[in-house]
Symmetry: C2
């Protein structure tokens, strides 16, 4: 019954503004995408590259850093992971030889994550199939105008989600 209908608004201090029919339909469709899309990309990467989505984007963001390097805390921001999650994750990538860690020479409180040659090669090898998937699943499904709107909406949603 929730999220729609005017159903029993038991607990809330003031009457709940339930979703109307259109809002409900929009939410269901969008919610489904939000749940299913990451999963589909996970599968693609797992199958084609033996990487998880966040592993792939960790390598991608590392490749954009000077010297293929990023501080752990910055990388956590960029990949939207907690520092703890990233630390575990980098431990695994390290074990596979894709990344190595070094304390920042200038300030030992920071740890630098540094992509190895093998890590870069892995990213380069994995990218084409992943970009194909992103195209197939998202980009090529929408017109350029729609894509602009999606970006626009996404940016506004983001400010909300990030506690605007």
């Amino acid at each position: 019954m929730p999220t729609s209908s005017k159903g029993p608004a038991k607990a809330a201090a003031r009457a709940t503004r339930w979703l109307d029919k259109d809002e409900e339909a929009a939410w269901r469709a969008f919610h489904a995408v939000v749940i299913k899309l990451p999963w589909t990309l996970e599968r693609q990467l797992q199958r084609d590259a033996d990487l998880s989505l966040i592993e792939y984007y960790t390598l991608a963001r590392l490749s954009e850093g000077t010297q293929h390097t990023q501080r752990m805390s910055v990388l956590a921001e960029l990949t939207d992971a907690s520092l703890s999650r990233l630390s575990h994750l980098v431990t695994r990538l390290e074990a596979r030889g894709y990344v190595r860690r070094e304390p920042d020479p200038d300030d030992g409180r920071f740890t630098n994550a540094i992509m190895t040659k093998a890590g870069y090669a892995k990213l380069v090898a994995s990218a084409p199939a992943h970009v194909e998937a992103v195209r197939d699943l998202v980009i090529d499904v929408l017109s350029p105008a729609e894509l602009r709107r999606l970006r626009d909406m996404s940016q506004r949603l983001l400010t909300q989600v990030e506690g605007g």
Copy 2:
């Protein structure tokens, strides 16, 4: 570097169609939403109702079934969970007294998940805060026209994601 730029398209049989600047920007924004939104909703539900997102939607979908009942396999579809995941999950909901299981009287191969009174009460108590969150984070951020477009795009994305 991936997803954008014309970078080394090593593996793929044919040249990779990398994302152009606008496509890349749209993808980054949308990707961020897709990753962050579920997490925000998880936090809200965890905090306000001690439920995970999928637990909440499991209860919600159950409440829509005749007699507050759904077959496990149908419920798995509705909640976008694997049968295995759902089974583990229902075991937990059962332990908390929100759901019980019975074999289908007509065909013992099916298992019915049945929401208890306590389960329904839990849903009713949890719904207002969750709907508020969905409004704050998504619905009220977009105009009705945008919401229509979002729904429209989402539906098309879904057919792709579901292997259209």
